[in-house]
Symmetry: C2
Subunit: 339 residues, 2 copies
């Protein structure tokens, strides 16, 4: 069933224009509309349709419900040494993140490492985008955020953690290494697709309301929970992101009384120039990634991938024309007409 | 078989004295001998016998083979802004790490975040110890190191990565959250124990020389490899530690031509005081850990654990007297007589 999605081919410029028009129609200033639209198109190009233009439906709804304030600008709430807190004022998460990228990059280039958090932050889109921006500036970076509780603790029944993504960007002489994954065993979006198509999900992703592992995605929606990836070790990472994302951003860990909603975001950047020099660092990373790519695969014809390879391959397939699910593209065009 | 280990009860003071005497007998100055012995005893108390006094056999051998220079002192190789490189000069890894803890703590308290790497570094022991030291100073910290290749890439046959531990310490009003795990699915020490006892290991930890998953620990030693934990996501973390641990410390990623041996160590610390204040941060963490501990378990009578709980329970069992395997204690006493 999942392979039956019918795609249409659309030019990047057209997708960008339609997205901008939707965003400006709900009160987003043109520069912010361009920024958010560009982020959605980049996620679409990288093969992450779940973070692509389909989000326009949810985002316009969030603006109409006053969850997103489309015209507000991020500001610096606190700035000290190698740290800063950005206040997004419940504006666009993408706009706040790009502002945070600029702030953390400037500090990291000066001091060698810097960290910023973002308070009052809405959905930030594909986290990998921001670590890619920092890698393009020859900076190493790590980024994570917490979110509404959906994931159980290892050995627990209740929803305690967000799906809590972790992204890491490492510059090289070639394409950067870009790690970007949810610490939940499965993204909630994948359950939604499986449920819509009447498909089951692999064991290890979902527990039902009684805490029993299930292959039925509906069990998540009937009071169950997602599981962290990788057993107790993945649980530790999910917990780390929840605690640090929530407590350093003022968004609160999502199991705490102070939490209401939002994405407690933390971004740190490191300048390899301050260690053994940026050029030598990139040489080391390029030598290593070449050796990883060349390692003998366990299955003939399935070479080992370096994090970022999947997205780079998808980008090739989405150029010069983006391949978009016809259903999604039609719903975006209908949304535009409705505004 | 594993349950048949016969323990002896020994006082902390006696274990510490015997360990110090062994270390000084091979040329370690008394203050460094005390520091390394204290680290080994703490690992033993925390229930990590694999990183406890059993290491004295390997360490004295390393001194005798001139891998460890027992009398050399760590120095600062480079110091700039919020960064530093410590040179351990192939001395004791534990001594270099405690020096690194002091350097990173001072910088983090001043600038809000700091990062140090350690070059020419020998085995550093239990990584959790150092993040515990930083948590006791109310600092958040993350630490990792690379090591000799033992772990395959996801989908690959060859040994490319070290077992690459990751540790994270998060202060609270109660005990700190202490995460400390190998990004390999199993520590090599566990395979060694299983092999010695003629036991099998669970699927997902080892592949044989042909890249086929195996439950026979011997297959690792016959040209196989360990697997990363948690599939492609755990692979990403193992790779991140290998690249950053190797390239920021000058130890090189272990698949690169420049790598010879050693532990490319990176330690970063964050001061929550610079965000919403240290007291509020600890309140948030304590509220969250209480809620995590109180979550409904999937199995009756098996409460959900917060990272660090296992070690704290072990510490209770090892007080006032340490419980040590009789075999290990006898071999340490024999070692002392032989020096």
């Amino acid at each position: 069933m999942a392979g039956d999605v019918k795609n249409v081919s659309v030019s990047r410029a057209e997708v960008l224009t339609v997205s901008e028009e939707i965003l400006t129609a709900v009160g987003t200033p043109l520069d912010y509309a361009r920024s958010v639209a560009e982020s959605l198109v980049q996620a679409q190009e990288a093969g992450h349709a779940s973070h692509g233009i389909i989000r326009l439906l949810e985002y316009t709804d969030s603006v109409q419900r006053s969850v997103i304030d489309p015209a507000v600008s991020p500001t610096i709430f606190r700035d000290e040494g190698a740290t800063a807190i950005i206040d997004s004022h419940w504006g666009w998460g993408q706009v706040a993140c790009k502002f945070a990228v600029d702030v953390v990059a400037k500090k990291a280039k000066e001091l060698g490492i810097a960290i910023v958090s973002i308070k009052e932050c809405n959905h930030i889109g594909r986290v990998g985008e921001y670590v890619e921006m920092l890698a393009a500036q020859n900076l190493i970076s790590m980024m994570w955020c917490n979110a509404d509780p959906a994931v159980a603790a290892y050995g627990g029944k209740d929803r305690l953690f967000g799906t809590n993504p972790l992204a890491v960007g490492i510059p090289s002489n070639d394409v950067p290494v870009v790690i970007d994954f949810a610490t939940a065993a499965s993204a909630e979006g994948k359950l939604r697709v499986a449920r819509a198509n009447g498909l089951s999900v692999p064991l290890g992703a979902v527990i039902d309301k009684d805490g029993v592992e299930s292959t039925n995605p509906q069990d998540f929606y009937d009071g169950g929970a997602l599981l962290p990836f990788g057993g107790h070790k993945g649980y530790c990472l999910s917990l780390m992101i929840e605690l640090l994302g929530g407590a350093l951003s003022g968004n609160h860990p999502s199991m705490n009384d102070g939490y209401s909603h939002g994405y407690g975001t933390v971004l740190l950047a490191i300048d390899p120039e301050k260690f053994f020099g940026g050029a030598l660092f990139k040489d080391e990373i390029s030598e290593a990634t070449k050796k990883i790519s060349a390692t003998t695969p366990t299955k003939m014809g399935q070479p080992v991938l370096v994090p970022g390879d999947v997205e780079n391959n998808q980008r090739k397939g989405n150029s010069p024309l983006l391949q978009i699910s016809e259903t999604i593209w039609n719903s975006v065009k209908e949304l535009k007409l409705s505004l």
